[in-house]
Amino acid sequence: MPSTPPDSRQQVQALVDAVQAAQTADDLTDAVEDLSACAHPMAIPCLIQVLGFNNPGAAVAAVDGLVAIGAAAVPAILANLDEYNYGARAWSVRALAGIGDLRGLPLLERALAQDIGPSVRRAAARGMGGLHPHGFTARQRQELAERILPQLKAACGDEEWIVRYAVAVGLEGMEHWWQPPAAQRHRLLDALQTLADPQREAAPVVWLRARLALNRLATAAAVTRA
């Protein structure tokens, strides 16, 4: 007798039904965690719906699920943005930031520059460091860096410390997908220096994060040279 595939449609549907039937916040979180764990594309509409429930535990689990599903979730996330619910929009931006798909980039850019919610701007800044430009040539990666670096540098002046913190994380992350040639690398380090400087940055935690990024980039460069 053939065994049932582990994520058959009925099983995923049962997990979706459990999310819809949850009566308490804790039950909802547990049900969403189970649904997210299967990382099945059929779960996408339900997970996106959970982002708008104002339940942080369930939303974290739903973001994890959408990130695990990856690129297949991007069109649905973009099509279902809730203009009137900051919380939901922040979670959508977090999901897109975690997936790193370039189709989400225009949304991250708009969020970083314009969104009134610091939680949305911080997710966007981190997301710009986590892009996955699969199959890009060195020249295309350079063009992408030319597009993103000025936006992160502008966000070094954001009024909220957590956004500037996320910019430090984003700048460090850029190195992974940009892989800048030696002559370009200092542009990344210069931007981080601004955040690492107590004269120019008010929040000690931001200096420390920028310094951590500089130290790690210096180590990575030393390893590459060796």
């Binding site: 942080p56 939680s119 996320a166 935690v205």
Partner: protein
């Protein structure tokens, strides 16, 4: 009744100078604190406003508290770091309005006003069953215990004459009694204060227990209280708490910046600090 908030410092000062519209005075006081005004007129005007007693404002303007102008003036003075404010705030601490006492206590703690320790301790001394008893007909307590306990923690052990207080047990005994208060938010404030005053791990562990409380409001308070104490062993528990990432990030920032282990001379994070930063990255 005016709506909205002042547009700039000059307007805020004008709004606070005029006496006809308490709504304008209310928002002006808030604005000067929020914007950390350095204008030489800001503190004197706020001290005048602190003496104002008046009824609740028209609820249509969104303010629903007695003595609203004085309360906002007290809150603003805590943010402006000017020692001129200490004596007027000590006077406000003796007001019959417990909401004004609450605002005054918080601000005295923020200003590090050592003269406030004795009167604050006096207000708490009758313990959780008297000072901490419910105020009939309201959700409040007889004394604003949370603010009073937090202020004691913020003031630490520096004595008024510049020496360090050596006879610590009487103060600690008063604060410890609130660790058994029936309301978890009061317990959280007591643990926070005790952790700041003693650096004993048992109080940090009590705060970590509150991170698993079934009410979100309690988990939020414990997060912020741990952040203020900078008790680093709480890092992993904070990262896993069921609450908004924004609050967890504020708490973890507190662990990095407020810990006695923080090395202010090194520009680079210690390994322990790097671990906390990595936990923060995951929450962005």
């Amino acid at each position: 009744m005016s709506q909205g908030t002042p547009l700039n410092e000059a307007q805020a000062l004008d709004w606070l100078r005029q006496l006809e519209d308490p709504g304008q005075r209310y928002y002006a006081a808030w604005w000067l604190g929020r914007m950390r005004s350095h204008h030489p007129q800001a503190v004197p005007l706020l001290i005048q406003a602190l003496a104002e007693r008046g009824p609740r404002l028209d609820p249509t303007c969104g303010v629903d508290e007695p003595n609203p102008v004085a309360r906002n003036a007290a809150r603003a003075l805590g943010k402006l770091a000017d020692s001129q404010a200490v004596d007027p705030l000590l006077e406000a601490l003796e007001s019959s309005d417990d909401g004004l006492r609450e605002a005054a206590a918080r601000s005295l703690g923020q200003l590090g006003a050592l003269k406030a320790r004795r009167p604050i301790l006096r207000r708490l001394a009758s313990g959780p069953l008297v000072a901490g008893a419910p105020r009939p007909g309201t959700s409040r307590l007889m004394e604003p215990c949370e603010a009073l306990l937090e202020a004691l923690g913020a003031l630490g052990w520096q004595g008024e004459e510049g020496s360090t207080i050596t006879d610590r047990e009487p103060l600690l005994a008063v604060v410890r009694a609130y660790g058994d208060h029936e309301r978890p938010l009061i317990r959280s404030a007591a643990y926070r204060s005790l952790l700041q005053l003693t650096r004993e791990d048992c109080w940090g562990e009590q705060l970590v227990n509150l991170l698993r409380h079934n009410e979100l409001q309690v988990r939020r308070a414990a997060l912020l209280d741990l952040g203020v104490t900078g008790w680093r062993p709480a890092g992993a528990a904070i990262a896993q708490t069921l609450a908004e990432n924004s609050l967890k990030l504020i708490a973890l920032r507190g662990l990095v910046e407020n810990s006695p282990a923080r090395n202010h001379t090194s520009p680079s994070p210690s390994p322990e600090e790097a671990g906390l930063l990595v936990a923060m990255d995951d929450l962005l």
